[in-house]
Amino acid sequence: MAKISIHEWFTRKKKAKAETEAVSARLDIPGNLWIKCYKCSATLFIKDLEANLKVCPKCNYHFKLSSAERIKLLCDEGTFKELNAEIRSTDFLGFSDSQPYQKRIEDSMLKSNLMEAVITGEGQVSSIPVALGVMDFSFMGGSMGSVVGEKITRIAEHGMEHKLPVIVVTASGGARMQEGIMSLMQMAKTSAALQRLREFGLPYIVILTDPTTGGTTASFAMLGDIHIAEPGALIGFAGPRVIEQTIRQKLPVGFQRSEFLESHGMVDVIVNRKDLKSTLTKILRFYKD
């Protein structure tokens, strides 16, 4: 077989995927028109749901957004410029669970159309320039490996270099176990970078979305000057299952949800998605004006 670069391989696969998608789009499968709300089970017309920013009009359940959707929601149109898009994960441990890590990375790229679990770049929120990182749960559960840690660190450094406020939108199951101790070390790296940002006197704002747990929460997700959360998001250190197994008790309703964190003093404000940009703008103006 002829040797191809990873980039070529990726482009080819992407093209193939786009083609199959085009076919299914033409077929107009009815199954793709409707969705049941995960929370209240109401049947929702997908177009309506999307028009409502993927929030259930019946029960206010906030469906997950992709990083692209989140950027569109927060940034002024056409202002977002991605940085460090070319950093990729690699299987340096030779780790294999049900499949090799390398294959998992490649499959995730195809499935999510992303290079990694976070997109970082510069953009404008209501004409205020910001350094922005947006995590994407669809890439290996938003897990933090070397690349996520590096990109978060670099966006903090970019903020320092250009004197920009730094905003990170979190969505992550925690550390990426396939990278062993190196994933743990990302907690140290990102936190150290945020310490510098703090010394620099620049604001760091975290937007917590569903779910944010594990090593991500115990590092850059909980270090904001301001913590904004979407309603009902699962936010915690240990996952609910781990806690249940440890204490052998059922967990109370609403445990580890945004509202629970707010009442325990860990979150500044819970904001509905439709108000997220305007609230963020008000906070940014506090720093900017």
Partner: protein, 324 residues
């Protein structure tokens, strides 16, 4: 403290080849009690135990090292403090919520020089372990640690952290009081410490709970300690969907001192006595003391600004990825 030269009791599965020799010694001792002199024979057998032990310990698998790291007799933080630190005064409480017995700290002298020591505290009996929550700290433990680190900073004294925890405690109260925030804040603040800071992984380096006090300028590991993002059992049950595959997970995740030295995550391996630290706790304490002293002396030559820069460099370069 644990009986230093533990005999037949508490031998690990892989040490079982030693059992017949221990039994033989006991028999000979019984005979000697009746007046026959067996001193020479017993000496010979004890030598054989040493030789065989050396052989067994030459080729330990990662899961066997995990067992040693968790050994019930493995010296704890307070054991090491008692052996290494003079004039130790334990300091308690986070000044906000309470005192966490799973994470201890205090001031004392190492080789006559003032130091602050913090560390996770386990125990040697079920009762002790329960009292210490198996070394799994709550948020107030991490907040106490930070408070003490700042005490050291204001006094311009070096900090030593001894890491030995299965992980930060995953409980309801811990979540209510902000386990994540407590650990995250420690990580950020440790990056800014202006005094020499040396971390030693003495037993189990369990994930964020370990790192929460473990961001030293130098990170040293005892030979049979482990340091990992998740326990081998946790890794096996999540990724392999089968907790019994922990041995495999232990190997795959690269959690031994040797592996982590290769990845530059740690700076040095501290030798343990044959049979592991619990087989000769004072020898183990001695090794730690020598190594920690050396690193503190080196770091003491750096200015506060250089210490921060030195730490930043260390953690900034963590990560392996491809950039085209």
């Amino acid at each position: 403290m644990a009986e230093a030269k533990n005999g037949i009791k508490n031998l690990l599965e892989f040490e079982k080849p030693l059992v017949p020799i221990f039994k033989k010694i006991e028999e000979l001792k019984a005979v000697s009690a009746h007046g026959m002199d067996m001193t020479e024979e017993i000496k010979m057998l004890q030598k054989r135990i040493e030789t065989l032990r050396r052989e067994i310990f030459q080729n330990l698998s990662p899961i066997q090292i995990v067992q040693l790291a968790r050994h019930i007799l493995r010296p704890t933080t307070l054991d090491y403090i008692n052996m290494m630190v003079e004039d130790f005064v334990e300091l308690r409480g986070d000044r906000n919520y309470g005192d966490d017995p799973a994470l201890v700290g205090g001031v004392g002298r190492l080789n006559g020089k003032p130091v602050l020591v913090i560390g996770h505290q386990k125990g040697h009996t079920t009762k002790e372990l329960l009292a210490r929550n198996f070394g799994m700290a709550n948020p107030e433990g991490y907040r106490k640690a930070l408070r003490l680190m700042r005490v050291a900073q204001r006094a311009n004294r070096p900090i030593i952290s001894l890491v030995d925890t299965p992980g930060a405690y995953p409980g309801i109260g811990a979540e209510e009081r902000g386990q994540s925030e407590a650990i995250a804040k420690n990580l950020r603040e440790m990056a800014a410490l202006t005094v020499p800071f040396v971390t030693v992984i003495t037993g189990e380096g369990g994930s964020g709970g370990a790192l929460g006090i473990g961001m030293g300028n130098r990170v040293l590991m005892l030979q049979y300690s482990i340091y990992s993002v998740i326990s081998p059992e946790g890794c096996a049950s999540i990724l392999f969907r089968d907790a019994t595959r922990a041995p495999e997970a232990a190997t795959a995740s690269k959690i031994t001192a040797k592996d982590l030295l290769e990845f530059d995550v740690i700076d040095e391996i501290i030798k343990e006595p044959v049979g592991g630290a619990h087989n000769d706790p004072s020898a183990s304490a001695q090794n730690i003391q020598v190594s920690v002293t050396k690193h503190i002396e080196e770091l003491s030559k750096l200015s506060p600004r250089e210490l921060i820069a030195d730490r930043y460099r260390k953690y900034r370069k963590m990560g392996i990825f491809i950039e085209s």
